[in-house]
Symmetry: C2
Subunit: 339 residues, 2 copies
């Protein structure tokens, strides 16, 4: 790899001049510009971005921390594709670091990115608590943005959406269509999202004066297989239900499969509603509807805000809260009506 020094020598100028030509800053005569370009060409010169970043003390790179536990399925791909595209549009690159499966490892991942002198770090946390993140943000100069959590102190550094509201909405949707015995399948209960969706479900039942029946609540782990298992545990209680709210689409698909296998007609006998919207979902089954999880929007907005702050130096103090929820219907309302 040839260096700037060598190019300078070839062109018969100093490296300061080469630098000026490359950056377009400062005055350089057309004649020497020519010389320099020619020398660059000949030498096959390429700038060393490490050196440049060191000198400028910034890297044009944004770090992203995502937990291992999310590393599969369309949710992960949505986070990543959105982040990579949006950053590329703004001339930055994405460095992905595995948050593994503990708070300590999430910490280390953030630290690593900061040590690499990333301009900023985005984390989709799983194990770090809100307070821990507030603390981390305080300790560092570089902006650290948190997706899908409501921070206590640094609200301008986070973005979140109304998971409780979406749990409420899904349940209400079924209630309004005549369902009374509505089962609920949770996600992993160590996830705030799972807890919020469950609480939305309970609130909806309460609001319509339907008692919460613990026999109608089963615990899943986000995966299709755990959806299958949850159905089994629900049926074991021999309690009737005409609808199921599954805390994400993957479990909803597992539920659908299991019910089909048992010869239970979906959605005629039992309706299913999920969350997240996996891309192929609209094609899957007229039996399955979902409440959209606005991950893409969260990522998109958080990056917009980040770029604005990196370029403009100003970070909006405004709270970002996405509450625009909607149910996507594969079909007309018909099939979801309780018989």
């Amino acid at each position: 790899m040839s260096t700037m020094q060598e190019v300078a020598k070839k062109a018969g100028v100093s490296k300061a001049t080469v630098s000026r030509v490359l950056s377009g800053k400062g005055y350089v005569s057309e004649a020497t510009k020519e010389q320099v370009y020619k020398a660059i060409e000949e030498a096959g010169y390429r700038p060393n971005l490490l050196a440049r970043n060191l000198a400028l003390n910034k890297s044009q790179c944004i770090g992203l921390v995502v937990t291992n536990t999310l590393y599969n399925g369309s949710y992960f791909s949505e986070i990543l594709s959105q982040a990579a595209k949006k950053l590329a549009d703004n001339g930055r690159q994405l460095i992905l670091v595995d948050g593994k499966h503990s708070a300590q490892e999430e910490r280390e991942a953030i630290q690593f990115l900061l040590d690499l002198r990333c301009d900023a770090v985005i984390i989709y946390p799983r194990f770090l608590t809100v307070d821990e993140m507030d603390e981390i943000i305080e300790q560092h100069k570089q902006p650290i943005m948190v997706v899908n959590r409501k921070l206590r102190k640094h609200q301008s550094h986070c973005i979140f959406c109304d998971h409780k509201g979406s749990g409420f909405l899904a349940t209400k949707y079924l209630i309004e269509r005549g369902h009374r015995a509505i089962a609920f399948i949770t996600g992993s209960m160590d996830s705030p999202t799972a807890i919020e969706r469950l609480s939305g479900y309970k609130e909806a039942l309460n609001q319509y004066d339907i008692g919460v029946n613990d026999n109608l609540i089963a615990h899943g782990k986000w995966s299709p297989a755990s959806g299958v298992a949850a159905v089994e545990s629900l049926l074991a209680h021999r309690e009737k239900f005409s609808a199921v709210v599954a805390s994400n689409d993957e479990m909803a698909i597992g539920v659908m499969k299991k019910l089909n296998d048992l010869g239970i007609s979906v959605p005629d006998e039992i309706s299913i509603i999920g969350f997240d919207n996996i891309p192929t979902a609209p094609y899957l089954s007229p039996a399955l509807s979902s409440v959209k999880d606005p991950v893409s929007e969260m990522i998109s907005q958080v990056i917009s805000r980040l770029i604005a702050m990196l370029d403009g130096g100003y970070l909006s103090k405004e709270n970002i809260f996405i509450s625009d929820l909607q149910v996507r219907n594969s079909v007309a309302d018909g099939p979801f009506t309780a018989k």
Copy 2:
């Protein structure tokens, strides 16, 4: 951010000593070690990885280039999750760069990663030709690995699998179950994978003395919607068929949806087979089977090889060709038998 110099001053030693303590190389007395650790703690010192990388001329980062056109769905997520995990296991990080949607942009993405002094670059190409990539590999000292293409010259820098064989397998699978009128839906025909799968289909028909009927071949674009459109164009020809080979699972799902909507029973009247295996596929429909695309294995193997070469300095000259194909069945063979 405090620097090594400041830590040295605090500890009353030179920065050379601090460096020795940190790296664990060279002799340092226990007493001064203590001092240094204390100073590091007090100063809240963190090493600047940019500076370290510049001095060492390596970055512990591996670049990955993926085209925009792949940025969705489970295929993308499989590539990424596999790459990130495998690299993290080996203490390296993943930098993802958007290959956008042209050969030129794929070139630039590779160049950027090299300029960043990534230790190596992995590309899942879409637009660059095999010859162009062979040339790029020659021009650079850092290893550049190519996934899903057979290079002409640098075979040890690539990994690929038998897409033609899998197209053949899927078709043969149906033929052996009694089907004769088998429709085929291609992927985007600017993709080598799409072309190879089609040629496998044709070869299977030939081998069983079934003529290739152009009316039974429709062109899709990998998306579920294009699968729907392909079915429409097939039906427009008023040619009967009892089975469909769709060039990937997403299109297969579109096909299934469309046939269901038309009241055509799947798989009783028409059987469908796809490729790729999306994670939820086994839960979707007993009507859909797929031939697995070994992306994960390709990524995994190419990284193993890469790490071996980065750590050991030796790059195996052996050809890597994955030919272990298999059909995943959601169900027993029954439903796929032609009536």
